[in-house]
Assembly symmetry: C2
Homo-oligomer: 299 residues x 2
């Protein structure tokens, strides 16, 4: 009999990801805190479950896509959680972006209960989730990864096994370290151009032709100039990711001063009511800081 698949967490990301699994023909057991989030999946032929435990009772491979470390801990180990219904040999695949150390602890717990775990956070946002083009960074045993890989390939294009449990979360944290500083650096470049009376669009064009070129300059850099703060990736989720990055730096005892700096920008962007906007809103904070208007946004 084919693997029974479970999916817990059907928000902006989880819903299209689960739909992509369902469309590939997999039997699917789903659960979401908000029952209305299950409706599109049920309409597509999935079975709604009243709890994570009920999903686990029916599933060989259980995906989780929720918001934060606490949510994953609740879904796995809380009341009516996965461990209460875990079948022997079942695999829990957490695709949320959460703490690497908490991930390692959950993997240990599941292993003692006869289960397996992969951490498989993604990048690529809502568009990547809908199109099935997410980047998926996976931590856990190679054997377990090999078994789940065909399912990952229904949801993503760049599916990479990084290392042991937690390594996927570490790679995602590294991704946020790089992308957040890339956005902030582009913002500073635009401010320097504008303060000198130089067109930032011309500067962007020049930089795209050389070593300063990046996917961020192509994509985020254009939206920043257009003052287009529609998400994309919401600032409050980016803030949560940066909290996880800085927690990991603290836990491992390393100094990441550049990351710490941009974390302050995203914190205050959310603090100033931009949490539901795209995380390039840090550029609005940079413009406020400098008293220079660069984007086309009308305030």
């Amino acid at each position: 009999m084919a693997d029974q698949i479970g999916f817990i967490g059907l928000g902006i990301m989880g819903r299209p990801m689960a739909l992509n699994l369902r469309r590939a023909g997999h039997a699917l057991w789903v659960h979401a805190r908000r029952p209305e989030n299950m409706a599109p999946l049920v309409a597509a032929g999935a079975t709604a479950c009243a709890s994570a435990r009920e999903v686990a009772e029916h599933s060989d491979i259980i995906f989780t896509m929720v918001s934060d470390t606490d949510d994953v801990e609740q879904v796995i180990n809380g009341e009516h959680g996965i461990v209460e219904g875990l079948r022997p040999g079942s695999i829990v695949v957490d695709m949320s972006t959460i703490s690497p150390s908490a991930t390692r602890a959950l993997a240990d717990l599941l292993e003692t209960l006869g289960g397996e775990m992969l951490d498989a956070p993604v990048s690529g946002g809502e568009k990547g989730a809908i199109d099935g083009t997410l980047s998926i960074m996976v931590g856990g045993k190679a054997k377990v990864f090999a078994r789940v890989r065909p399912l990952f390939e229904k949801m993503g294009k760049n599916v990479i096994h990084i290392g042991d449990n937690g390594a996927g979360q570490v790679a995602k944290a590294c991704n946020q370290v790089v992308i957040t500083q890339a956005i902030a650096a582009i913002g500073e470049a635009y401010l320097l151009a504008a303060a000198n009376g130089v067109d930032p669009r011309k500067v962007r064009e020049a930089l795209l032709g050389g070593f300063a070129s990046s996917r961020a300059l192509e994509s985020h850099g254009l939206r920043m100039l257009d003052g287009n703060y529609q998400p994309g990736f919401k600032a409050h989720l980016h803030k949560k990711d940066m909290r996880i990055v800085m927690e990991s730096a603290t836990e491992t005892g390393i100094a990441l001063p550049g990351t710490a700096l941009v974390t302050q920008l995203i914190n205050t962007a959310v603090g100033q009511g931009m949490g539901e906007d795209d995380s390039i809103s840090i550029f609005r904070i940079q413009q406020k800081l400098c008293g220079v208007q660069v984007d086309r946004q009308e305030d």
Copy 2:
């Protein structure tokens, strides 16, 4: 009669750039502080001059490629400088990376003397200079740019007119703002990976597939992991560029905290004797700061 071309400053960058002009068949008058630097040009058919003034006396378009703001001021306006020999309507094209505000002052001076000026700093390093694939960011009048453009195209591939005098220098400053923070961000990501026991090479591979991808991650990011600190672009020149960026931020009264932070890293890299190494040496400083060895370098 075809334009007579002058070239002043025949160091690591200037020499191959001037050779590319000569190979394209242009009459060339050259000067360098070190006479031995003129030899390869003379061997290729250029005429050695005893001073910048002498170059100016023979040339319609005079390129300068020296180190710093003071050097350009000396070559143009110092003893035996260009202004002493400037022919009416001649164009001075400064391809050094120097201060935008000093550039605007020099352009004003040359205009009062009946000359013209373009600022045309480059990126792409020694390899780009040799291969004729530099990015060239140009400030000055559109008409003057149009006249010099065919010569730029002998030296570079991405030749972009950014704006008025100084705009090329501003674009180059923006380039350094972005690339330096990109290198430092990649360094922090590698440290976070290593501190968590995760292979930074796997992380790099994953990041190259998503929005965190960049030319810097492709090129600098690989050399950082290999511990390959051969220049490339020397740290002491990068330090000079960052000094110019921060001076411009101070002059224009804007806050660039991320740029300020990475400037500290490059300053201390040079201070610790890495000035002749590649500017990715800031990764060595980051590793020292964290007490974590990531690259393959043997110390």
